[in-house]
Structure formats: structure tokens, C-alpha cells
């Protein structure tokens, strides 16, 4: 059989069913036997034991040999299916994946890169896995493939997407605060569309290139654009201010000019900004000269960022607000959002009760510092959402306004 006709999911699933099936049979057998014995030989029915046998060599041999055979069969199929995962079919498209805290970059043969893994439908794809900092793992549940990404080591997975669509990619090896957010997707496109996309990607439009590059190289996994606090210092207002840095443990104050920024990107270990861990990987040789210029232009504000407006409704969904608030007037853990904007609120501040109108200022406080003013009748259990950016908060308030009177 031509091995490229087998997809990884077709190789693994039968083994799953085989092992689960046998297990289920054994489990049901044991459970039924136990329940039957308990009822049949309950002391109320059987005041004295009716047998004293305490061993039976024949039985012992039987129930040693049979499980041995069963597990050997499981082992065989388990191993054989594992080999399918390891043997990449010929003609596979090679794509290289780089993981870092906490983002992904995929690079295609022509040098194109993207944050989502785009693959052609029906063709086997081999993804070469690299990590630049700690352990991560590439996990695509739909294709039953997973492999750790180990710094300093080359690993790979392969799979074939049977039909067009979007499939999850998760980071499956714990890697710190951003672990759960380190998700992206496989976008399986019909081959022509994939080719088309590749060609287009080769000549990207230059509208917001600097911004794009920050995403592509994973900078935004650790730095924010909007002033919010992440692993590294924010890019907002970064350029041209004074920074306190540690050079070889000695504290210095510098001005963040273009040279400094360049050095910070290429050799981040040289100056460590005070108060931050020295975890940033060096990008020497990993960012092409032209792109570096774009990034520096962007960071120094030469190219003004044009930001897309965040979507308030989506934010409310993503941040779990609707777990506690409803948008239809029903009461949940927290007050409903419906007709909240502009309404009269009774709140308690430090134990004192006050009355006020839910205007933009109040709503912003309520999201960022919910414990400052507690709405009467509700527990003070809302977590502060300080990690939302000003834009995001604004978008959420716009959304609330839409639900208002």
C-alpha cells in the first residue's frame, strides 16, 4: 500500500478503539463479577463461607497468560501506529515551525512566514519543530500528532489534512504564564488557494509592515503595544526615554535611542532593563537586515501605527465577562449588561453607600478596578481586568453603550 494514502488519524484511531474496547470488556466483566458475588454471597444470604479454597494454580496461570497475550497485542499495535507517525511519506511539503514564549512562527520553503500554519489539502506536510527558549509542544488534536519542541534539538511531525478547514494547534508542553494562550491554527486550503496565498505572501503589502513583523517574530508574545504589562517592557512610548538597565550587573541609565533599541533586539543580554528577567532571546542573524530597519522605524515611531479597532462583543466573550454578567437582562453572579449604560447605580465605596450614573468614567473603573466601587447586592468577586488595553476597554464600553437605553 502506498503509505501516503494513510493519514495519521487513520493510523491511530483503530488502535484507540482496539485498546479501549478490550479495556471496556475487561472492566465490565470485573464489575459484573464483583456485583454478582456481593449479592450472591452477602452475609445475609450466606452466613458462612461455603468454600475455603485459597488458590488454584490453573486459574493463576490462565489469568497470567491471557493478559500477557492481550498486552502484547496492544503493544504491537501501539508501536506499529507510532511508526506511522515517525515515517514521513515521500513528497511531503516541509514547513518549519518556531515556538517561543508564547507565540508561533511558520516558515515556508520560499521564505514566507505566518502565524497560522497554512497547508494544502491532501498533501502530507512535514513540520520541522524548533524552540528558541524553553520546552513547547506542537499538538494538532485533529491529526493525533504531538511532539515536543526542545531548544537545541530538531524534532518533526507530519500529517495530512483530508479536507479544507481550520484545525486547532495547541502548545502542549507547559511553558509559563502564556502556555494556555499559545494556541494557533492549521488553515487547510485547497492546493490552488494555498499556492496563491504563498505567492501573495512573498510580496506583502507594506501598509503596517513594522507592526506585522513584530507579530511575525513573536515580539508581541512578550511586549505589548498598548502600555499593558507583560513579560517584557511595553513598546508604547518606548523610544527616546530614559531607561535604567543592568550591564553585567551594574546599573546604568541610558536613553533609548535607535542604537540602543537595535542592540536590545540583537543582543538583549547586554543591557537588561531593570526589573525584568533576562529571558529575551537574541535575534542576531534571525531578523533580516531589511526587516530590522522596518522594526526600528516602527518602534521609533517613524511609521505611525494604524490600529484596527477591537471588537467589544468579542472581548466580552473572550474575557469570560458573560460567565458572570448576562446581556439579556437576566441576573447572574453579577449585574446584567443590558441597559446598564447611563443607568443609576447604587454602589458602596469603603462601606459607604453612594448613588451615581454609569457613565464612561465609572464603567472604566468598574472594569479595571472592580473592588473600588461595589454594586449593592452583589459579592465583590469580580477580578480586576488591568491587563485589558485602553483600546479594548474603550471597545467594551462602546459595546455596553450599544446595549444601553
Amino acid at each position: 500500500m502506498n503509505p501516503s494514502l494513510v493519514t495519521t488519524q487513520e493510523a491511530i484511531d483503530p488502535v484507540f478503539i482496539f485498546i479501549l474496547g478490550i479495556s471496556l470488556v475487561m472492566l465490565v466483566g470485573i464489575t459484573i463479577a464483583m456485583i454478582y458475588f456481593i449479592i450472591r454471597y452477602h452475609r445475609s444470604r450466606q452466613p458462612e463461607p461455603t468454600s475455603d479454597v485459597d488458590h488454584n494454580l490453573g486459574l493463576e496461570v490462565v489469568w497470567t497468560v491471557i493478559p500477557t497475550l492481550i498486552v502484547l497485542a496492544m503493544f504491537y499495535f501501539g508501536w506499529a501506529s507510532f511508526l506511522t507517525l515517525r515515517n514521513v511519506p515521500e513528497g511531503a511539503l516541509e514547513i518549519s515551525a518556531t515556538a517561543r514564549m508564547w507565540s508561533w512562527t511558520f516558515e515556508y520553503a520560499g521564505g514566507q512566514t505566518s502565524n497560522r500554519l497554512r497547508v494544502p489539502v491532501g498533501q502530507p506536510v512535514k513540520v520541522n519543530l524548533h524552540s528558541v527558549d524553553v520546552l513547547h509542544a506542537f499538538y494538532a488534536p485533529a491529526f493525533r500528532v504531538k511532539r515536543d519542541m526542545v531548544p537545541g534539538m530538531e524534532n518533526y511531525v507530519w500529517f495530512t489534512a483530508p479536507e479544507a478547514g481550520s484545525y486547532d494547534i495547541f502548545c502542549a508542553e507547559y511553558c509559563g504564564v502564556g502556555h494556555a494562550d499559545m494556541t494557533t491554527s492549521i488553515e487547510a486550503l485547497p492546493p490552488e488557494e494555498f499556492e496563491h496565498w504563498l505567492r501573495q505572501e512573498a510580496a506583502p503589502e507594506t501598509a503596517d509592515l513594522g507592526r506585522e513583523l513584530l507579530g511575525k517574530h513573536g515580539c508581541l508574545g512578550c511586549h505589548s503595544l498598548d502600555g499593558s504589562q507583560m513579560v517584557g517592557p511595553t513598546f508604547k512610548g518606548l523610544s527616546g526615554r530614559e531607561a535604567t538597565v543592568l550591564q553585567d550587573g551594574v546599573e546604568k541609565t541610558l536613553v533609548t535611542d535607535r542604537d540602543y533599541l537595535e542592540r536590545s533586539i540583537l543582543q538583549p543580554g547586554h543591557d537588561i532593563v531593570k526589573g525584568y528577567p533576562p529571558v529575551m532571546p537574541g535575534y542576531e542573524g534571525r531578523i533580516p537586515e531589511g526587516e530590522l530597519v522596518q522594526i526600528l522605524d516602527y518602534l521609533t515611531g517613524a511609521a505611525a501605527p494604524a490600529k484596527p479597532k477591537p471588537d467589544g462583543a468579542a472581548l466580552v466573550q473572550q474575557n469570560g465577562c458573560l460567565g458572570c454578567h448576562s446581556d439579556d437582562g437576566s441576573s447572574k453572579v453579577g449585574p446584567t449588561f443590558k441597559e446598564l449604560f447611563g443607568a443609576q447605580r447604587t454602589v458602596s465605596v469603603d462601606g459607604e453607600t453612594r448613588s451615581l450614573t454609569a457613565d464612561r468614567v465609572y464603567l472604566e473603573r468598574a472594569i479595571l478596578e472592580p473592588s473600588a466601587e461595589l454594586v449593592e447586592g452583589y459579592p465583590g468577586m469580580m477580578p480586576p481586568y488591568g491587563h485589558l488595553s485602553a483600546d479594548q476597554v474603550e471597545a467594551i464600553i462602546d459595546y455596553l453603550e450599544g446595549l444601553g437605553k
Partner: protein, 544 residues
């Protein structure tokens, strides 16, 4: 045999070795007092761990940030894992019930090295305290997971060094207990207590002790290496200076896989002791069970690589470790079959210890059978580091060892307090726990097969329903647990008096000492003339 019905008041409670108050406990070298100190500390840490489990579930009740947020969530599951593994489940059965019961079971006055035994408790107490201190000091609560994988653990700024040091100390405690038990079983058996008359609980402790002695040092050196990486930067696991992060995983699992058998073997021993008593029938296949304990201990040291199938380890190693993993399942299967056969043609009474023991058999089997999916490399690749693994290990650890711990608590503790709990309430609590348990962890196994990774504080919406079910069930489980502990603890101090041998056991702790046991256990050295499950010869009957 001496007349054991002539109780001497409060037994070992009366004699404090010339000390009073707290000192009579914390400086006592009596194995029963040490066992009780272990028991209470372990219960307290268990409750702490369980609260953290509840917090984890609260965060996971729905997608998005709910109560903890990412960093606090990571610290929570790390601490939950560390507490449950190192403070509850590894010392749980052997250190608490092993100490309480084992010397009496073999007819000894105490363990071989009583002072070392006390030292081991102190190491436990210090290690536990340090683990808690690491929460609030330096960089804050560690956020690495209980596996402390490098390079993350050598980079994070949280207080990993102290947590690791705490675990190091706890390791010492385990080593000392293991040495002590091995020497005790070899040297202090009463006349007539041959190896084939050892109760199976003692057999399982013996096998466990070997694992503790031979595997724990590897953990110790691994933790020293982490501290060295963090403090002086030796670079042994750092790819930049030629180290190999995967070697860390080897060293870690060389200990931590055998450790799961440290957790389960004594639990299996408890079950092997309880089932025959309540079926009033000699245990089926005594020798097979005893030998399979040794076999699990031995073969269990050969399979650590099954935690690393996706790590980038060589395919040859995957082959070897997978094959051996399946071999280790066989002795477990033998035990399960023997337990079930013991019920055949017996006279079964469903007292609380028996109910917990029987549910152990079921829950352990579910967890263990899930282990087979994990042992097959093809299927493990899909479910590795997903909720399937989380479900697997809660089934074997909580459903297995946890329930065995509860069984032991209902079976033996009244003997030491002389008072007992309300059986009806105990059964109700069991029912709540059993239901809550299955609806908590079965959804996790399904989620894992659907692809939900573990250690995620947030997940994609398609996983929401099962997570919600799991969280709600955790409250049912919580209610059952609370009811169970409340009932047992009330009973121990205020309950009805407990006779010398109300269950009708035939091993020495039931036939040769008073309730509560005397200070040096026996008025005269017992001479053993029959096996531990020979209820006829022992002439014992359960009270009605």
C-alpha cells in the same frame, strides 16, 4: 497467646514516656504515636491540596479568566501537585498506616530504629513547612508544575529553589522510613512469623520500601542539579552550553515513575488485607499477590521512559519502554483477579472499610486500563499532556490510593482510638464521593481524548460543557469528603466504644493486642501458628 480481652485502659495513650503535653508526642519514638502524627499531618495537607483542587476547578468552570488568572492558576496547580504527591500520597499509606500497623502485624514491639523513625517524621514536617513557605517568599509561588521541567524551571523567577529544596528534604524522610521498614521486616518478625505468614499489607510495604530506598536518591540528585543550575549555572541541562534538557526528564522519571508504585503498592496491600476479612474467606492466591508486589516494584523501575514518548527521545527507547510498561500491567491484573476471586463463595459484609476497598478495585481498574492507552506509544502521542493523563492519574491516585487511605482509616483507626464512627453516615459519605468522583474525572478523560491540553487555565469553548460538569461534580465530591471526615473524626473522639476485634480479623493487630494497643504492643512476645487470613484456626468472628 496472651489474653487480649483484658484491656489496660487507654493502652499506649496512657504512657507518655515521662513527657507530657505536646512533648509526649513530638519527641515520642513509639511507632503508634509517630503513625498518628503522620496521619494528622497528612490529613491536614490533604485538605489543603483538596482546596487547591477546588480552586483549579473553579477557574476551569468556564472558558476565559474566571477567578485566578494565568499566573495564579499556574501556581495553584503546581502546589496542588506538589502537596498531593509529596505530602499526601507518597507518605499517606506507608508512613501513617505502615507505622501504625506494620510492627504489630509482624509481632514486633516497635520498628528497628525508633529514633530514626522520629527523625523521618521531623524531616517530613520540615519539608512540608518549607514547601508552604516557598509560596510566600522570594519570587512568589513556584509555577513549574510538579515535574519541574528544565529549562523553564531554571529560568522562572518564582521561588523554585526553595520548593525544590523542600522536596529534597521530604525525599530524605521517605528514604529513612524505607530503610527502617526493610530492616524491621527482616529482623523483628515474631517467632513463627514466616515469610508466607506475613500479612499482605506488610508484604506490600516491604516491596515499597525497596523502591523508596533505591529510587529516591535519584530524585535527590536531580533536585540538587536544579538548584545548581539556578544558583551557580552549571549548565548541565542548558542547550546553550551543551547540556541536554531531555536528560533532566530521564533523571526525574527514573524516580517519579517508581514513585507511582510507592503510592499504589501499600494501597494494594490495604485492600488485600481488608477484602478477606469482610468476605470471611482466606485471600485467594496469597503467594501470587505477594510475588506480584515484588514484581511491580522490580518491573516498575524499568519503565520511566513512557512519560517521554513525545519528548524527542530515540525511537528505540520508545520501543523498549513501551514494551516494559505493558509488562508491568500484568502483575496488577493478577491482583485484581485475585481480589475478585476472594469474594467467590465467601460471606460478604458491606461494612464501610469493605465498601471503600471494593470501590478501590473498580476505580483503580478504570485508571489502570487508561494507563494502557498511555503505554501504547501511538495512542499516547495523542493524549500525552492532555486531560486524559489528568483523568488517568486521578483515577489511580485518588480513586486508588486515596480510597485505600480512606478504607484503612475506617478499618484500623478505631482500633487505635477505641471508639468508632457511625456506619450509616460513612456509607452515605461514600456514595456521595463515589458519584462525585466519577462525574469529576470521567469527563476529564473524554476531554483529553478530544484534545484538551493540561495546565491550561483557559480553553476553547468547545470544551466548556464537560468542564462545567466536572466542576459541579467536584462540589459533590467535596461534600462527600467533608461528611466522611466529619463522621470519622467525631466517631474517634465521641463515638461508641470499639471492641478488640469487631471485624473478625485474624492478623496480630486484631488477635494479639488490646484496643487501643499497649505501649509495647504485646504483654508477651506472640508466637505465630497460622496465616494472617486463616479465620477458622484463629477462631475469630465479627461482632454483629
Amino acid at each position: 497467646m496472651s489474653d487480649v480481652t483484658a484491656t489496660s485502659g487507654r493502652g499506649f495513650w496512657d504512657n507518655s514516656g515521662g513527657r507530657s503535653g505536646l512533648a509526649a508526642w513530638i519527641f515520642s519514638t513509639d511507632h503508634k504515636r509517630i503513625g498518628l502524627m503522620y496521619f494528622w499531618s497528612i490529613v491536614i495537607f490533604f485538605l489543603v491540596g483538596v482546596m487547591l483542587g477546588l480552586l483549579i476547578r473553579l477557574e476551569l468552570i468556564a472558558p476565559g479568566v474566571n477567578f485566578l488568572g494565568a499566573q495564579r492558576y499556574n501556581a495553584t496547580f503546581t502546589l496542588h501537585g506538589v502537596i498531593m504527591i509529596f505530602l499526601f500520597i507518597i507518605p499517606g499509606v506507608p508512613a501513617a498506616f505502615g507505622n501504625l500497623v506494620m510492627p504489630i502485624q509482624i509481632g514486633a514491639e516497635d520498628v528497628a530504629f525508633p529514633r530514626l523513625n522520629l527523625a523521618s517524621f521531623w524531616f517530613y514536617a520540615i519539608g512540608a513547612t518549607l514547601a508552604l513557605v516557598s509560596l510566600f517568599t522570594a519570587g512568589g509561588a513556584p509555577d513549574t508544575g510538579w515535574t519541574f521541567y528544565v529549562p523553564f524551571s531554571t529560568r522562572t523567577t518564582t521561588n523554585v529553589s526553595l520548593a525544590v529544596f523542600a522536596v529534597f528534604i521530604l525525599g530524605f524522610s521517605g528514604i529513612l522510613t524505607g530503610m527502617n521498614f526493610l530492616t524491621t521486616v527482616h529482623r523483628l518478625r515474631a517467632p513463627g512469623m514466616t515469610w508466607t505468614r506475613l500479612p499482605l499489607f506488610t508484604w506490600s510495604l516491604y516491596a515499597t520500601a525497596w523502591v523508596q530506598v533505591l529510587a529516591t536518591p535519584v530524585l535527590a540528585i536531580t533536585l540538587v542539579l536544579i538548584m545548581a543550575e539556578r544558583l551557580v549555572g552549571t549548565g548541565l541541562f542548558d542547550p546553550a552550553s551543551g547540556g541536554d534538557p531531555i536528560m533532566y526528564q530521564h533523571l526525574f522519571w527514573i524516580y517519579s515513575h517508581p514513585a507511582v508504585y510507592i503510592m499504589i503498592l501499600p494501597a494494594m496491600g490495604v485492600i488485600s488485607d481488608i477484602i478477606p476479612v469482610f468476605a470471611r474467606k482466606p485471600v485467594f492466591g496469597y503467594k501470587a499477590i505477594a510475588i506480584s508486589s515484588i514484581a511491580i516494584a522490580a518491573a516498575g523501575s524499568l519503565v520511566w521512559g513512557h512519560h517521554m514518548f513525545t519528548s524527542g527521545m530515540s525511537d528505540m527507547a520508545v520501543l523498549v519502554f513501551s514494551l516494559l510498561t505493558f509488562i508491568v500491567a500484568i502483575p496488577s491484573a493478577i491482583k485484581v483477579f485475585n481480589w475478585v476471586s476472594t469474594l467467590y463463595k465467601g460471606s460478604i459484609r458491606l461494612d464501610p472499610p469493605m465498601v471503600y476497598a471494593l470501590s478501590f478495585v473498580l476505580l483503580f481498574s478504570i485508571g489502570g486500563l487508561g494507563g494502557l492507552i498511555l503505554g501504547a506509544p501511538g495512542t499516547d502521542v495523542h493524549v500525552h499532556d492532555t486531560y486524559f493523563v489528568v483523568g488517568h492519574f486521578h483515577y489511580v491516585m485518588f480513586g486508588g490510593t486515596g480510597f485505600a487511605f480512606f478504607a484503612a482509616m475506617h478499618y484500623w483507626l478505631p482500633k487505635y482510638y477505641g471508639r468508632t464512627y457511625n456506619k450509616k453516615v460513612a456509607l452515605w459519605a461514600w456514595g456521595l464521593m463515589f458519584i462525585g468522583f466519577n462525574f469529576l474525572y470521567m469527563p476529564m478523560q473524554i476531554l483529553g481524548m478530544q484534545g484538551m491540553p493540561r495546565r491550561y487555565y483557559d480553553y476553547v469553548p468547545k470544551f466548556a460543557d464537560l468542564n462545567l460538569l466536572a466542576t459541579i461534580s467536584s462540589w459533590v465530591l467535596a461534600a462527600g469528603l467533608l461528611l466522611m471526615f466529619a463522621n470519622v473524626f467525631y466517631g474517634l473522639f465521641r463515638g461508641k466504644p470499639f471492641g478488640t476485634n469487631p471485624w473478625g480479623g485474624a492478623s496480630l493487630e486484631w488477635t494479639a493486642t488490646a484496643t487501643p494497643p499497649l505501649l509495647e504492643n504485646f504483654t508477651e512476645e506472640p508466637i505465630v501458628t497460622h496465616g494472617p487470613y486463616d479465620f477458622k484456626q484463629a477462631g475469630v468472628r465479627a461482632d454483629d
